[in-house]
C-alpha cells in the first residue's frame, strides 16, 4: 500500500521548508526509518526518513523547491505499484527557484583615442575599464596596443587603489634586468636550469641514513614565534560547540548575491564578524599585555591564518574589521588569502593584528589548541563543520555543528571572562 512522504513541520513557527537534497532516486529501495531526503528551513536543516519500507515510487517535489509543511514530497510503495492519481505533483512554478544572474550586455563601441590603431576588442576592453589606450605600452606591430597588452594593464591596474604616479608605483624588485627586457612585459626566458640544493653537514644527533632538510626562513620564523609565544603567555583553551544552521541558511540565501558583488562567500567572514561582535562587547580581549598595563587597541585588526602547504603558514590581517560589513569582510578575506598564496603580501598586511582566527577545521580537525599569535591575547580556533545529531527541545535534530576554541592568555583573561567572550561569538553565530 503506497504511503506518502510529506514535508514535516520542523519548528513551531516554521510553515515551509525547502527540499534541499534527495538522498534516494525513483526506483530505489528504501527501508523504514531510512533518511530519503534533506529539508531546510531558515532555522534548521534536517533529514526526513521513510515512514515505511518499500520502493521510492515517485518524487513529487524537486530539489530547490520550497513547499508548505504537510505537502506530499514522495510516494513509497511496493515496487511496480502504480502511483495513485492526484498524488499532488507540485508544479515547478509554485516553488521558488533562485534565478541565475543576468549578464549585462557590454556595448561594443569605437572607443580609444585617435591616431594609433585600436582593434575592436581593445576598444571594447578600454571602454569597459575606462582606460586611455595611449597610456599603455604596445607590443604589437608598430607599437600597437594588443589585446594582451590591455588585459595585462587591466590586471595591474586592478591591484592599485587609485592611479599613482610612476615614482609611487613599485618596480619589479630586480634592480637590474637583462637589457632585452627593458620595457618588455614578459621576462626573457632563463638560460640555466635550476640546480639541486646541496645538503649540509648532518648534525651530531643524526642516525645512519638520515637526511637533513634545511629550514626555510618562513619555517625558522614560525619556530621562533611559537616558542616565544608559549614562553610569554600562559595558554588556556576553552571549547564551545556552535550550531551553524542559521549561518548556513544565510549563506545559502546570500551567496549568489555576494558572488555578483565580487566576493565568494565562505564561512570565514561569519567567524570574523562574530569575533568582531565579541571583541566589541569585550574590548579587553582586543588588547596586548605590557608590563605597564593592558594596551586596549582602538581598531580591531583580525588576523586570518592562511596555510601555505608544506611551507608553513602566514597570518594576513583584515584591518579595521569593526567597520566592515559581511560583504566587506568577505572581500578582504578572499583578497588576503589569494595574495598570501601568490606571495604578494606586503609588510602592512602582516603586521598589526589585535586578534587572530585559525581555521584548523579545513583539514578535518574537530578541535585544537592553537598557539597565541603575539602580541594578541587570544586566538580563535575553528574546527570542521559537521552535521551531527543533537538534542533540541528533547528531540533529535540534525544540525551542522562546529567546535570553536578560544586559546587565551591567562595573564589577561580568566576562565569566566574567556567563556563569556566565546559565548558571545556562539550567540552571534547561532542567531544570525
Amino acid at each position: 500500500m503506497a504511503t506518502q512522504v510529506v514535508m514535516p513541520q520542523l519548528g513551531e513557527s516554521v510553515v515551509e521548508g525547502k527540499v534541499s537534497r534527495w538522498l534516494k532516486k525513483e526506483g530505489d529501495a528504501v527501508k523504514q526509518y531510512e533518511p530519503i531526503l534533506e529539508v531546510e528551513t531558515d532555522k534548521v536543516t534536517t533529514e526526513v526518513t521513510a515512514a515505511a519500507g518499500g520502493s521510492l515510487l515517485k518524487i513529487l517535489v524537486a530539489e530547490g523547491l520550497v513547499v508548505k509543511a504537510g505537502t506530499p514530497l514522495a510516494v513509497i510503495g511496493e515496487a511496480g505499484e502504480a502511483v495513485p492519481a492526484g498524488a499532488g505533483l507540485v508544479p515547478a512554478q509554485t516553488g521558488h527557484a533562485v534565478a541565475a544572474p543576468q549578464m549585462e550586455a557590454v556595448g561594443v563601441g569605437p572607443g580609444g583615442t585617435s591616431g594609433a590603431r585600436i582593434s575592436p576588442v581593445v576598444a571594447k576592453i578600454a571602454a569597459e575599464h575606462d582606460i586611455d589606450v595611449s597610456q599603455i605600452r604596445g607590443t604589437g606591430e608598430g607599437g600597437r596596443v594588443t589585446k594582451k597588452d590591455i588585459l595585462a594593464y587591466v590586471e595591474t591596474k586592478s591591484h592599485r587603489k587609485e592611479e599613482l604616479p610612476p615614482w609611487e608605483q613599485p618596480g619589479t624588485g630586480d634592480l637590474f634586468k637583462p637589457t632585452e627586457e627593458v620595457g618588455a612585459p614578459v621576462p626573457v626566458a632563463p638560460i640555466a636550469p635550476a640546480s639541486r640544493p646541496t645538503l649540509h653537514a648532518l648534525p651530531s644527533t643524526a642516525l645512519p641514513g638520515d637526511e637533513l632538510m634545511p629550514l626555510s626562513s618562513i619555517r625558522r620564523s614560525i619556530a621562533e614565534h611559537m616558542v616565544k609565544s608559549k614562553t610569554v603567555s600562559p595558554h588556556v583553551t576553552t571549547i564551545f560547540e556552535v550550531d551553524m544552521s542559521r549561518v548556513f541558511a544565510h549563506r545559502e540565501a546570500n551567496k549568489a548575491a555576494f558572488e555578483r558583488d565580487g566576493a565568494r562567500l565562505t564561512f570565514t567572514p561569519y567567524f570574523v564578524a562574530a569575533s568582531v561582535a565579541a571583541l566589541k562587547a569585550y574590548p579587553q580581549v582586543n588588547s596586548s599585555f605590557t608590563d605597564e598595563g593592558l594596551l586596549i587597541h582602538k581598531h580591531i585588526n583580525v588576523g586570518v591564518a592562511v596555510s601555505l602547504g608544506d611551507e608553513g603558514l602566514i597570518v594576513p590581517i583584515v584591518k579595521g574589521a569593526e567597520g566592515l560589513s559581511l560583504l566587506g569582510l568577505a572581500r578582504a578575506v578572499n583578497d588576503l588569502a589569494e595574495r598570501a598564496r601568490k606571495k604578494e603580501l606586503k609588510p602592512d598586511d602582516v603586521v598589526g593584528s589585535t586578534f587572530t582566527i585559525t581555521n584548523h577545521g579545513i583539514s578535518g580537525s574537530l578541535f585544537a589548541t592553537p598557539i597565541i599569535n603575539q602580541p594578541n591575547v587570544g586566538i580563535l580556533g575553528v574546527g570542521a563543520i559537521q552535521k551531527r545529531a543533537v538534542v533540541i527541545n528533547d528531540a533529535i535534530a540534525i544540525r551542522p555543528m562546529v567546535y570553536i576554541g578560544l586559546t587565551f592568555d591567562h595573564r589577561v583573561l580568566d576562565g569566566a571572562s574567556g567563556d563569556w567572550f566565546v559565548a558571545k561569538i556562539k550567540e552571534t553565530l547561532e542567531n544570525w
Binding site: P166, E168, A184
Partner: protein, 350 residues
C-alpha cells in the same frame, strides 16, 4: 679637542631659520625654480622608464632642498665638486642643463659626462669642475680629500700664490656610504691636514632597503665628526634655507683655513632606490605619506608665499616654464642618435 656640534634647522622639532640677508628675493626665487626644475625633470625620467623608453633612472626626488642650498653656497666653475648619483638638483644649480641630463638617461651621442659610456647620474663636467664619479659608493670621498689636499699643496709649494682664493671641494654621499672604509680614510686625512673640504652626507634614512638603524649605531652622522677632529653639523636638508646656511658656513670655514665640515643634511627618499626597486617590501605607505608632508619644495613654496615673494600667478608661470624646459630637453634627447661603436673603443689612455 672635542668640536661642538651644530644643528641648523630641525624637522622633528619644527625649528626654522631666519633668511640671511645675502639671499635676496631674486636669489631665493632662483633657488626655488631650480628645485622645481629638478623635480619635474626627475618625475619625467620616472615616466620615461615606465614607458620603456629609458633603461634606468635613479632619482634625487625629495633631496632638492639640501642640494640647492649647497650649490648656491659654492662658486660654480671655481670650487670642486665630487657628487653622487642623487645630486641632480645640485648639478643643475651649478650649470648643467636639462638637455645634458636627458642625453644621459637616453644614453645618446654627445652626452657630456661620459659620452654615454656611463650609466646616467654619473655626473662629470670638466668645465664646471665636477669630477666624474663611479658606481662603487664612497670612492669619491678620499678623492675629494685628495683634490683639497692638492689645492693646499699648490699654495704650500708656491705653484699658486698663497693669497690666491682657495677653491673648496664639496663631496656628497648617502648615509649608507659612511660605512665604507673610503669615508673613514677621507676624514682621517681631512682632520690631519685641515683640508678645505665639505663632506655632505645626504641622510635620507635608507640605503636601498637598509634603514639607518642597521647602518650605524649613532643617530646623527655629524656625531662622527669628533672622531676625526673635524666640524660636525646637522642641517634640516628639507629646508633649502637652512641647508644654504649650513653649506655657506662650511664653505667659509674651508676657504679661511678652518678645515673640513662633516655636513649632515637630514632628508628623506620618498621614492624607491632606483627605477626597478620595490620599496613596498621594506617600508609602509604610511611612513612615506608622513614624510611627503615635509617635502622641501612644498615647504619652500609655503615659505616664499608667506614672505610675499611668490604669488599664485608667479608660481603658475614657473610651472609652465619648467614644463617647457622639461619637454624641450626630452624631445631634444630623444631626437639624438646613439653613439657610434668607435666611442666604445676609447679613449683609454691620455
Amino acid at each position: 679637542m672635542l668640536q661642538a656640534r651644530e644643528r641648523i634647522g630641525d624637522m622633528l622639532t619644527k625649528t626654522t631659520v631666519d633668511i640671511p640677508s645675502e639671499l635676496t628675493p631674486e636669489r631665493l626665487l632662483e633657488m626655488y625654480y631650480k628645485m622645481l626644475l629638478s623635480r619635474r625633470l626627475d618625475e619625467r625620467m620616472w615616466v620615461l622608464h615606465r614607458q620603456g623608453k629609458i633603461a634606468f633612472h635613479i632619482s634625487g626626488l625629495g633631496q632638492e632642498g639640501a642640494q640647492v642650498g649647497a650649490a648656491f653656497a659654492l662658486k660654480p666653475g671655481f670650487d670642486f665638486i665630487h657628487p653622487y648619483y642623487r645630486d641632480m638638483a645640485l648639478v643643475l644649480s651649478l650649470g648643467v642643463t636639462p638637455r645634458e641630463l636627458m642625453l644621459a638617461v637616453y644614453g645618446k651621442k654627445g652626452e657630456p659626462s661620459s659620452g654615454a659610456r656611463q650609466m646616467p647620474a654619473h655626473y662629470g663636467y670638466r668645465k664646471l669642475n665636477i669630477v666624474s664619479g663611479s658606481s662603487p659608493v664612497a670612492t669619491q670621498a678620499p678623492q675629494a680629500a685628495g683634490i683639497a689636499f692638492g689645492e693646499l699643496y699648490k699654495r704650500k709649494v708656491g705653484l699658486v700664490a698663497a693669497e690666491a682664493e682657495l677653491p673648496v671641494t664639496l663631496t656628497c654621499l648617502g648615509e649608507g656610504s659612511t660605512s665604507q672604509g673610503d669615508f673613514h680614510e677621507a676624514l682621517t686625512w681631512a682632520g690631519v691636514y685641515k683640508l678645505p673640504l665639505i663632506v655632505m652626507v645626504e641622510n635620507n634614512l635608507y640605503a636601498i632597503s637598509v634603514p639607518i638603524n642597521k647602518q650605524s649605531a649613532v643617530t646623527d652622522v655629524s656625531e662622527r665628526a669628533c672622531a676625526y677632529g673635524v666640524t660636525g653639523v646637522s642641517a634640516d636638508g628639507n629646508d633649502f634655507i637652512a641647508s644654504y646656511i649650513a653649506a655657506k658656513a662650511a664653505v667659509d670655514r674651508a676657504r679661511s683655513g678652518g678645515g673640513t665640515t662633516l655636513l649632515e643634511a637630514k632628508t628623506y627618499r620618498p621614492v624607491p632606490h632606483s627605477s626597478d626597486d620595490d620599496d613596498r617590501s621594506y617600508r609602509t605607505r604610511e611612513e612615506v605619506e608622513e614624510w611627503k608632508k615635509k617635502d622641501p619644495i612644498l615647504r619652500a613654496k609655503e615659505l616664499l608665499m608667506e614672505e610675499g615673494l611668490l604669488s599664485e600667478k608667479l608660481s603658475q608661470e614657473y610651472d609652465e616654464r619648467v614644463a617647457a624646459e622639461v619637454d624641450d630637453a626630452n624631445r631634444f634627447a630623444e631626437e639624438q642618435p646613439d653613439p657610434e661603436v668607435e666611442w666604445g673603443m676609447g679613449p683609454v689612455y691620455a
